[in-house]
Amino acid sequence: MIELRSMTFGYGKKALFEGLDLGLEPGSIYGLLGLNGAGKTSLLKIVAGALAPKAGSVEVFGRVPELREAACLADIAFVPEDPWVPALRPSAWLSRYACFRPAFDRDRFAALLGEFAIEEDKLLTKFSYGQRKKFALAAALASGARAVLLDEPTNGLDIPSKTQFRRVLAASASEDRIVVVSTHQVRDLESLIDPVLILDAGRVTFTLSSDTIAERLASARLASPDARAAVHAEADAVGWSALVPREGREGEAAADLELVFNAAVGQPERLAAALAGAALPPDPQAAGAGPAAAAAKGGRS
């Protein structure tokens, strides 16, 4: 498993994480959501061993990535948002770099390159951003690593590639593997990520399984934000899109993950209450502001 205990990290004197505790179990595809600058990439890099925590401990399957033992690094595959590639053809890359990963599955890699329609006779440096990304994803998923860390994997992928990626990622998940996907493109991966970790102000504020979300929350269209007690509501072109506590009524729509995220960072107390099945606390953002003012701000509850 991946285990962070009282982990502290920051750039310069500014602390990004202070005493962060987190435990991730194999067999899941974790979605890591957070605002820009929340520390998603830093967290993935810390788990991968590319950054060292200032205090606390990080372990990946019982090893400390910060020590950069070859066996530990071979058990972790990290794909950055904008992956670097050498000036080699895929076959040359395979003979030069796959050898560092004893569990690398060459057949799987070839199959993934085929699935992603990667050109085999072209230098990797001549690839487009999306192609480089698909190549790096194929390499990570074929690496045999038990911890796969993907930073914004669907950024830069065209629509068919996103579908392929979802299919490939679902097929790559296994009982002994932990996949962590950091993303802003929630809707691209909504059907895959479970549970969802919400990172805010240097800590994981919510860990939400798809079952919890389905049991406790629903999406609703409201004519006005006051039409029904909502955890969070956002004005759109045709009215209000709201996250509401599930009431068990016929035809309630599944909760939109983007609304869940916005509620988690905007109204965490109300979301926590809705998840606990308790009455929603007053909305501080709505106090003294009418629906028009709230709509102008782009969201309210």
Binding site: Y11, N36, G37, K40, T41, S42, K45, A48, G49, A50, L51, A52, E66, L67, R68, E69, A70, A71, L73, A74, I76, F78, P80, E81, D82, P83, W84, R96, Y97, C99, F100, R101
Partner: protein, 264 residues
């Protein structure tokens, strides 16, 4: 983080893979360097009927190999400092000590051997061409002409320093390392000069009589034992302490390097 325990996990196979990767990466650069040397010699052959590198005792060959090796060693960890490539390099599944050893093996051992062999061949071919062009063609360079093992030892010490420079400096590692070596040299001279001033009670200077192997303070030669002790101190500093310190320092830099340059 310095980790002596990682030495126990060293894999010769991974070192070979890293070494091979470096060699393949540096091959084109070394090839361009060899082509430039060849072009210079062919031009001088054309105009002066002499291959310029074969002139005199052929010291230019040794200098070119040394300079080439130092330039490559100074860029050994360039990728590690790169914002994007650095993450990939740092996370490549090999121990930091293996990454450092592979670089040391290539630049201190393999490169001078390969470049020495290439230079020997080129020099012999150029000597033949000289003769064919009506020039002297009497000298062909060999590594022995450059000073053999002694010259290699001095070169290897330099490689250790430039590798440490490469691990430390993100940009212009070669020039910064040269600057640092010069600064250390200057500081050593000042210390020696200061010592001589103290020994000479305020008036003297220290002079090394390179021609007859004497060391004198204020014109007064030191005893054989003192001279030998100073020489030993110098040799120990130059050939043991400096490379050992720079290897440990460079390794620590590689082991501690973090991918901080591109973080959202």
């Amino acid at each position: 983080m310095m980790r002596l325990s990682s030495i126990a996990r060293i894999s010769p196979i991974r070192i070979w893979q890293l070494f091979r990767d470096r060699l393949l990466e540096d091959g084109p650069t070394a090839g361009v360097g060899a082509a430039v040397v060849l072009a210079l010699n062919l031009l001088s052959l054309l105009f002066f009927k002499r291959a310029t590198f074969n002139a005199g005792s052929g010291q230019a060959w040794g200098a070119a190999i040394g300079l080439g090796g130092y330039l490559l060693a100074a860029s050994a960890f360039k990728r590690m400092h790169d914002g994007k490539a650095g993450t990939e390099w740092i996370l490549l599944p090999a121990e930091p000590v293996e990454k450092y050893l592979a670089a040391l093996l290539e630049y201190a051992l393999a490169l001078p051997l390969l470049l020495g062999a290439a230079a020997t061949g080129l020099s012999a071919l150029l000597a033949l061409a000289e003769r064919a062009a009506g020039g002297p063609g009497s000298f062909a360079w060999t590594p022995a002409a450059a000073g053999g093992l002694g010259a290699w030892g001095r070169y290897a010490v330099g490689v250790c320093l430039f590798l440490a420079g490469s691990a430390s400096f993100r940009k212009n590692a070669f020039l910064k390392t040269v600057g640092l070596i010069a600064a250390f040299g200057l500081a050593a001279m000042l210390v020696a000069g200061g010592g001589a001033w103290l020994l000479g009670r305020g008036s003297g200077h220290l002079s090394f009589g390179a021609a007859n192997g004497t060391i004198s303070i204020d014109g007064e030669s030191l005893s054989e034992a003192a001279r030998r002790a100073i020489e030993l101190l110098f040799e120990l500093s130059a050939y043991v302490l400096a490379p050992a310190f720079s290897i440990l320092f460079g390794w620590a830099k590689v082991a501690e390097k973090e991918a901080r340059d591109e973080v959202q």
